[in-house]
């Protein structure tokens, strides 16, 4: 049972806040991803778990062991935390052979030679690099180096894997392939894993749970599904999903029994469903959010009177392969929609329908999700 608990973690570098009041709970065997743009504090948090930076405030527990506590002055060195780390630049020792690289953590710990030999060979086999054991790092490709770095982490059977953008330096094809392998490997080894990335696709595909960070603060913690379908603010909504969610400034108005979103160029009525959460925002400025795949061409070309349709001009079609990316405009408001196919031509007017069950409304002042 290796869970990780972080309480009120704060770390500053001089006057810059790296992370502030981070609280989170990582369950045993969980694949947990820290996601955010560069400089958001995700790597700092990871290094704090590893014991490679000292924190200004807060506690870190690995299992039921308190490894970091600024208040109690506890700072266990990295090697006593049962962690193994994989770095973005792999950080394999350039002067050692692949074998010696993987054997290094065992040698340091004074494991006997036979045992080292056996463990290294087993690990190399698991990763499919047995034939490379005598090579030097400079003779290896990026993908192979990455495996060596993984091997060095796996070989000592750590309680926790910490990975800092391990796929960022691989080319696109290899990255996708390694992504899958890494996920499988984690399942097989059943090791609690903390993984840092700025790539939302990587996070969505690999994670059991994701923490989205910005400027040192937690924006949201949740499963990939929760983050995608129920983002708690505009930042998460915009950061997750590609192409990005459409955001439209609106005023929430009440028309008889119904609420509608008035974007000046068009108006959307929010069906008969009553949204009690929205009641207090009547008359206020809000942001409507809708994902590109929830915007589609209206079946009935004349359905202009419907509550959820908007007349738009088609500016550009980008064929992506599995779908088309439509760049549209409702007056001056830009929209992006993903559709399977379209008969519309560039420059034409199209009637687009918004899926009201997928609509998001955010408070304009706080950027927090209302629904």
């Amino acid at each position: 049972m290796v869970s990780i608990t972080i309480k009120n973690l704060t770390k500053t570098y001089g006057n810059t806040i790296a992370v502030k009041d981070v609280n989170l709970q990582i369950k045993d065997k969980e694949f947990f991803v820290f996601l955010g743009p560069s400089g958001c504090g995700k790597t700092t948090t990871l290094l704090a778990i590893a014991g490679l930076v000292e924190v200004d405030a807060g506690e870190i527990w690995i299992g039921d062991e308190l490894v970091t506590s600024a208040e109690q002055g506890i700072h266990k060195p990295p090697q006593e935390r049962g962690i193994a780390m994989v770095f973005q630049d792999y950080a394999i020792y350039p002067h050692m052979s692949v074998f010696d690289n993987i054997a290094f953590p065992l040698k340091i710990r004074g494991v006997n030679r036979n045992e080292i030999d056996e463990s290294v060979k087993k690990t190399a086999e698991l990763l499919g690099i047995s034939q490379l054991l005598n090579r030097k790092p400079r003779q290896l490709s990026g993908g192979q180096r990455q495996r060596v770095a993984l091997g060095r982490a796996i070989v000592r059977r750590p309680k926790v894997f910490l990975m800092d953008e391990p796929l960022a330096n691989l080319d696109a094809k290899l990255r996708v392939q390694t992504r899958t392998e890494l996920k499988k490997l984690q399942r097989e080894l059943e090791v609690t894993t903390v993984y840092v990335t700025h790539d939302q696709v990587e996070a969505m595909t690999m994670a059991d749970k994701i923490m989205v960070l910005r400027d040192g603060f937690i924006e949201q913690i949740g499963t990939p599904d929760e983050l995608y379908n129920h983002p708690s603010n505009t930042f998460v909504a915009g950061f997750i999903g590609s192409p990005e969610m459409n955001f439209i400034d609106c005023t929430l108005v009440e028309e008889g029994e119904r609420l509608s979103l008035d974007a000046k160029e068009f108006k959307i009525s929010l069906t008969d469903k009553t949204f009690p959460e929205l009641r207090s925002y009547i008359g206020a400025e809000v942001i409507m959010g809708i994902r590109p795949e929830d915007v589609y061409e209206s079946r009935s070309a004349r359905g202009t009177t419907q509550d959820n349709t908007v007349k738009m001009t088609l500016d550009l079609i980008e064929p992506v392969g599995p779908f088309l990316l439509l760049h549209l405009r409702a007056g001056r408001i830009p929209f992006v929609a993903t559709v399977k196919q379209t008969r519309a031509k560039v420059g034409q007017e199209v009637i687009m329908e918004l899926d009201l069950s997928k609509i998001h409304v955010f408070d304009k002042k706080t950027n927090k999700a209302i629904i």
């Binding site: 090697q79 973005q88 002067h95």
Partner: protein, 274 residues
């Protein structure tokens, strides 16, 4: 197409001419070393000897042998010590860091610019207090202390190129500060060691001021001082003088020929990353 060609030709002419100019003193030194006293008088320095002899080489070696060994001893010792200390300093200042490490580095940098002459009096006093005046040990200590700032700067710059993640990886792998230095940093330091060693060796070997101040006329006299003493007060035997100079130049020449390749690579590391 004619002009660039002409340019190229004149460039080579100029370069050959410059090589010739730069090699003239060396040539003069060699020719004079093999001349008899008469030849020195009857030929101009550039001319080869009329009746070549190795007599000057032998007589100068007789005088220079002990000082040359002295110089070799303290130069090698101080070179090794100052390089090792510089390497450790560079490692600590870039990879460990601690409160005040920038300040300490600043002090080291200032150390580079302290002129030798300004410390002579306190140096002599210190050395005699320590009982190291007129001794090889005193010269080793002085040259090591004077070399450490520049080697620290050199190693610090080089270690700045070693990614921090490598050190972090070794830390998580369970290595302590010194184990990391020994197993990871040191094996990657061949280049800066060569550069620092060549630099230190030549400057310590060529030093005259410290040598003449700390070990003049003693058993510990360095070769640079002995070489100056070769020329008498009333007459100068140029052939012996030049032969002594030849002996004196040999170790440095060997170092450059053997390590020149590494030296150029070492100078380049700062310019081209990775």
């Amino acid at each position: 197409m004619r002009f660039p060609k002409l340019g190229r030709v004149s460039l080579y002419v100029l370069l050959v001419f410059l090589v010739f100019v730069f090699l003239l003193p060396l040539w003069t030194m060699i020719t004079t070393s093999f001349k008899t006293v008469q030849d020195v008088i009857y030929t101009i320095p550039l001319e080869p000897p009329l009746s070549p002899t190795i007599e000057p080489l032998i007589s100068s070696l007789n005088i220079m042998e002990r000082p040359l060994l002295n110089s070799l001893t303290f130069t090698v010792a101080a070179t090794i010590l100052s390089c090792l200390l510089g390497s450790v300093n560079g490692y600590i200042l870039t990879k460990i860091r601690f409160r005040g490490s920038d300040m300490i580095f600043l002090l080291f940098s200032i150390g580079i610019f302290i002129p030798y002459q300004s410390v002579l009096v306190p140096l002599v006093l210190t050395m005699s207090r320590l009982g190291l005046y007129n001794s090889i040990g005193g010269l080793i200590l002085t040259h090591t202390a004077y070399g450490v700032p520049i080697t620290t700067l050199l190693f610090r710059n080089f270690y700045g190129l070693i990614p921090d993640s490598l050190i972090m990886a070794a830390k998580t792998d369970g290595a302590g500060t010194w184990t990391i230095y020994r197993l990871v940093v040191l094996p990657l330091s061949l280049l800066p060691f060569v550069v620092a060693a060549v630099f230190q060796f030549t400057s310590i070997w060529n030093d005259f001021l410290f040598g003449v101040t700390l070990a003049r006329g003693s058993e510990a006299m360095p070769a640079s001082v002995a070489l100056a003493n070769l020329k008498g007060t009333t007459e100068v035997n140029w052939n012996v003088q030049m032969a002594g100079t030849l002996w004196y130049a040999v170790p440095v020449l060997i170092i450059y020929v053997v390590l020149g390749k590494y030296l150029i690579r070492g100078y380049m590391t700062g310019a081209i990353k990775g």
